[in-house]
């Protein structure tokens, strides 16, 4: 990574942060011309560019409904969306959400019930992607206070398929994609050369959500998990300890200061040709082939993450839900129907977007332009989401803080996982979970 690029990214962050201040003055004003207007509220992310630049103008032309796109940085938008949902201010028609926000937004009544609005699903949706839009969740544990017999209801739809893939340098992994985590470690040992800023692995290390995003896949691949029966915390199991020890051993071949790396530094390290492999979100794929952004154009390939005893990929889809206080609910519903139709999804995929319909993900023409769609579809089928509870962010913060400590101390995996498990258990018990 060179200074200019670091600065460019940093300035991007500033611009996004500055956008927060404009949010409060935007939205809400509806034109009476045509069939009205729908206002999207979103976080800024390059993965949304195709939707904004290509698909929304098409939608406006096809329906006569004008669109307004209001965005901020990730945290800023979450704050605004929560405020809007809680106060029912009606500043937005459609909330763009990270999938882990769905329990919080749907559970708190901030989203309109799509089943009641008459939205019909079809068989072309990737099931794991569609499932993320339901509350209570279709499978697995249910949060205390949620009736165990309550019917799962559709509150949001996928907007962009985002899933963690293995990004690897095929000029270094010349015999093909590493299929196991041991392959990755072996290559890191062989080829890592810090004197030439060549590192075997790069990851996010910042406490909380960033490091958890990087560790999540490994935890599950080694046979570990987050919650067991009745929400019992199991992320300090022997399998989890083994996963963390492996993670730390792999990070010995990562760049210096990886404990302070977030998504931007992780991505830049790979794009500047300083790392051989990483698990990153699909949203980064296109940038690897952009000469203006990448020094390793056509040198990076994509696959599902390697395996140990299991093989999973982390789901992190962009979701779209209609605000329960949406001023133009009909227009918002029309957009969701239009965008999720297989025909639009196909156009979206061919224009460079990452769709959530099977037919679009399998389309040959789309795959020619976006060579990661095959890996994306495979990853979606083995995808695991964040636990479906509105309290996940707190548990993630607790575990992510201890992971960051373990990374700094380069060890004490069991001690740190036990500390996180004790704190998370106390929190869950206090919040009414039957953790025993």
């Amino acid at each position: 990574m060179i200074r200019r690029q670091f600065l460019r990214n940093s300035l991007g962050t500033v611009a996004a942060a500055a956008g927060i201040h404009t949010l409060s003055s935007c939205g809400g004003s509806k034109s009476s011309g045509g069939r009205g207007q729908i206002t999207f509220g979103s976080y800024a992310d390059p993965a949304l560019d195709t939707l904004k630049d290509v698909l929304l103008p098409e939608f406006e032309k096809a329906t006569g409904i004008r669109t307004e796109w209001v965005e901020a940085d990730f945290s800023g938008w979450l704050q605004k969306a929560l405020n809007d949902g809680q106060t029912k201010a009606g500043a937005f028609d459609i909330y763009v959400m990270d999938d882990l926000w769905v329990p919080r937004f749907a559970g708190a009544g901030y989203l309109a019930n799509l089943d009641e609005l008459g939205f019909q699903i079809d068989q072309d949706f990737v099931p794991s992607a569609l499932d993320l839009g339901y509350w209570p969740p279709k499978n697995g544990l249910r949060q205390p206070g949620i009736d165990a017999r309550a019917k799962s209801t559709l509150y949001s739809l996928p907007l962009i398929s985002d899933v963690q893939l293995l990004f690897y340098r095929h000029d270094i992994y010349s015999s093909g994609s590493p299929t196991t985590w041991d392959d990755v470690l072996r290559m890191a040992r062989q080829k890592c050369d810090p004197s030439h800023r060549q590192y075997g692995w790069v990851s996010r290390g910042v406490k909380g959500n960033p490091i958890m995003n990087s560790f999540f896949v490994m935890l599950h691949d080694f046979g570990g998990g987050i919650f067991g029966e009745n929400w019992k915390v199991v992320f300090n199991s022997p399998q989890a300890v083994e996963a963390l020890e492996f993670y730390l051993s792999l990070l010995a071949y990562a760049p210096p200061g990886v404990a302070e790396f977030d998504s931007d530094q992780e991505g830049e390290t790979l794009l500047q040709g300083n790392a051989f492999a990483a698990t990153m979100w699909t949203g980064w794929c296109r940038q690897t082939d952009d000469p203006a952004r990448s020094r390793v154009v056509n040198k990076i390939s994509f696959d599902v993450p390697p395996k140990k005893v299991k093989q999973v990929a982390k789901l992190g889809l962009f979701m779209a839900g209609i605000a329960s206080s949406a001023p133009n609910r009909a227009g918002a519903l029309e957009f969701l129907k239009w965008f999720s139709s297989s025909a639009t999804q196909l156009r979206f995929a061919r224009a460079g977007g990452t769709p959530f319909k099977m037919s679009a993900l399998k389309d040959d023409e789309a795959r020619k332009g976006s060579r990661w769609l095959d890996a994306t579809l495979k990853a979606l089928t083995i995808g695991v989401p964040s636990p479906r509870t509105s309290d996940w962010s707190k548990v993630e913060d607790i575990l992510g803080t201890e992971l960051n400590r373990a990374l700094l101390e380069k060890g004490k995996a069991k001690q740190h996982l036990d500390a996180a498990a004790a704190e998370a258990t106390a929190f869950l018990k206090n919040a009414g979970y039957p953790v025993g």
């Binding site: 500033v14 206070g145 909380g208 210096p256 962010s393 913060d397 803080t401 960051n404």
Partner: protein, 294 residues
């Protein structure tokens, strides 16, 4: 008749100031007291998922005093506030004393000194994130040149908080300098001239004349900076997110996370109210300490 008219005139005269003040009072009430009152009410509530807010009495406050993370964040905030404000005061006073005399290019030098203060805190955070970067940062480069090893300032549990304090000192020492310089330049010159005629040393003049006469300005400067440092957020958010571990997790960041990441609005409100009480106590203590020493 005349007496009645006089009384009416008195009433009008008496009520006129209140009428003129009313819009301002209403505005201030709406903008500050109402939100504050709402926060206090919220601090006695919890917001269960999908249910109406419920009053929980003092439960949030009881949880607060047993919350090791919150107490630790308060300790970090206090260390940050005392260290940053103290250093800014010493450096600001030193600069003010140094630059109070007329000298060539003083306008340019004074202007350049206040540049850091004019930069938005988020931008300051990003500038320093680059400087502290382990791979390409200036600090790491210097450490590499001196010791042959790079240094990850923000990944170090011992260096991260001092690094944040340094950022605050860099940004806000000019503010302290400006206030103290204005204070020094407004002091009457006669006592200083008399002291010099009587043969007082520069140190004695500083200790027994400058400092006591400057005390009101010092109180204001320390109060403003201490209150601002106590509520630091932007730089911490951009530079460390409270990490590594919880080494730089200041109280405001914890309030933010509790409200907007964990959706525990009632608990976050109780933290905010506790911070407000502490800030009030803090400012009263500083003011009282200076009054007592007069």
């Amino acid at each position: 008749m005349a007496r009645t008219l006089g009384l009416g005139g008195d009433r009008r005269r008496n009520s006129l100031p209140w009428l003129l003040l009313a819009p301002t009072v209403l505005f201030v009430g709406a903008m500050t007291i109402l939100p504050l009152g709402y926060s206090v009410v919220t601090s006695f509530q919890e917001f269960p998922l999908g249910q109406a807010p419920a009053f929980v009495g003092l439960q949030n406050y009881r949880n607060l005093i047993n919350d090791a993370n919150f107490l630790s964040s308060l300790e970090t905030t206090l260390v940050f506030t005392i260290a940053a404000t103290g250093l800014e005061f010493v450096l600001g006073l030193g600069l003010a004393l140094l630059l109070k005399q007329e000298f060539p290019f003083q306008g340019i030098i004074r202007s350049s000194l206040i540049i850091p203060m004019a930069i938005a805190p988020v931008v300051v955070g990003i500038i320093w994130r680059l400087l502290y970067n382990a791979d390409v940062g200036l600090f790491s480069f210097a450490a590499q040149a001196l010791t042959g090893r790079s240094v990850s300032v923000l990944s170090s549990a011992t260096m991260a908080l001092p690094a944040l304090i340094l950022v605050d000192v860099w940004e806000w020492t000019p503010f302290m300098f400006l206030l103290l310089l204005a204070g020094i330049q407004s002091l009457p010159q006669e006592p200083f001239e008399a002291a010099r005629v009587d043969g007082a040393s520069a140190w004695n003049i500083f200790l027994h004349l400058t400092m006591p006469m400057l005390r009101p300005v010092i109180v204001v400067a320390l109060l403003i900076r201490a209150l601002d440092a106590f509520t630091v957020f932007d730089q911490v958010f951009v530079l460390t997110q409270g990490g590594p571990g919880t080494a730089t997790e200041v109280a405001t960041l914890m309030v933010y996370k509790t409200a907007f990441r964990f959706s525990q609005f009632g608990y976050a409100a109780s933290m905010a109210v506790a911070l407000l009480v502490l800030v009030m106590f803090f400012s009263a203590a500083i003011t009282r300490a200076f009054r007592a020493s007069v």
